[in-house]
Symmetry: C2
DNA sequence: TATCAGATGATAAAGATTATTAAACGATTC
DNA sequence: GAATCGTTTAATAATCTTTATCATCTGATA
């Protein structure tokens, strides 16, 4: 890990009350120092080259910890629940970032997406899918209840 | 199942060379006749009320069959692969509908989303997430190779 | 109604994620 | 630098989701 990255990591941990451990350093580095989006298994394999005794569970736990802290993010909110859509008409989805519930929303509610530049060559565009992320009514209510 | 829905279902099956079975009728009905987005488990529980001997594997298999045929869709392309995003700068994702690979794309490539109406009351908007769906270069190549 | 390809149900297997717990470690204090 | 305390880790089991296998059954067609 580069010196600056290392210090940055230490500060991030301090800011979120996380102990700075070798394992966490390597896990964070394995994700943040490379482009692309990796799975826990891939990250585990990468880190294991430096720390052969690390456990896959440690990778999972710390990825979750980092995500909670906002140091990393999930690519998509929909991992973990395969859900079926019977609505074949064009529509958008309203997704709760807390409970991950999904509501349909008519397509007309949003203006069409406009492309400003060129997509990578060779990519055959099929459609734009817009997801409206936020906190649903129920979660807003339960959170305000908790905090008062 | 309403008569028209039943006939519609038969025609859909014919069009895709699928045998019309009791199980398929009930599975399709369980998804298509209700609003909302269900998991295979939920659909299984629903269908079991009518067909107590149905197997969960049958539900899975037929949901996949229906999706392949285009009779149903997946809410999201990201189920089954938890992926980590270390890019905290605003960006979009380019997603291949075949191999499900993901590429980052700078935010500036798309004009900001414009809301035309009102969101459901109580929903606290956090952000719009745009996904650009299509076929990546590699998959375009492999498909044209297959079809020639 | 007899035939047969395809569909189903039961079950095992595989894969992904989470929970548990004793031992080890990092941070703080002295 | 050693002692202490709370957190983190590794190992493993448990859980949950999805897929594979295969013998049996059923829908479609003749």
């Amino acid at each position: 890990m580069r010196r600056e990255t290392y210090n940055e990591f230490r500060h991030l941990c301090r800011a979120h009350n996380l102990a700075v451990t070798h394992q966490r350093q390597r896990i964070f580095e394995a994700v943040a120092s490379r482009p692309g989006h990796y799975s826990p298994e891939e990250i585990y394999e990468q880190v294991k080259q430096d720390l052969p005794s690390i456990s896959l569970a440690t990778v999972y736990k710390n990825l979750k910890t980092f995500i909670e802290a906002g140091m990393l993010r999930e690519v998509s909110l929909h991992h973990g629940a395969w859900r079926i859509d019977a609505n074949l008409h064009p529509h958008h989805h309203l997704v709760c970032t807390r409970c991950r519930s999904i509501l349909d929303l008519d397509q007309d509610l949003l203006a069409p997406v406009k492309l400003r530049g060129k997509l990578p060559s060779g990519f055959k565009l099929e459609k734009f899918s817009i997801e409206i992320q936020g906190v649903c009514k129920a979660c807003v209510a339960s959170e305000s209840r908790t905090h008062n």
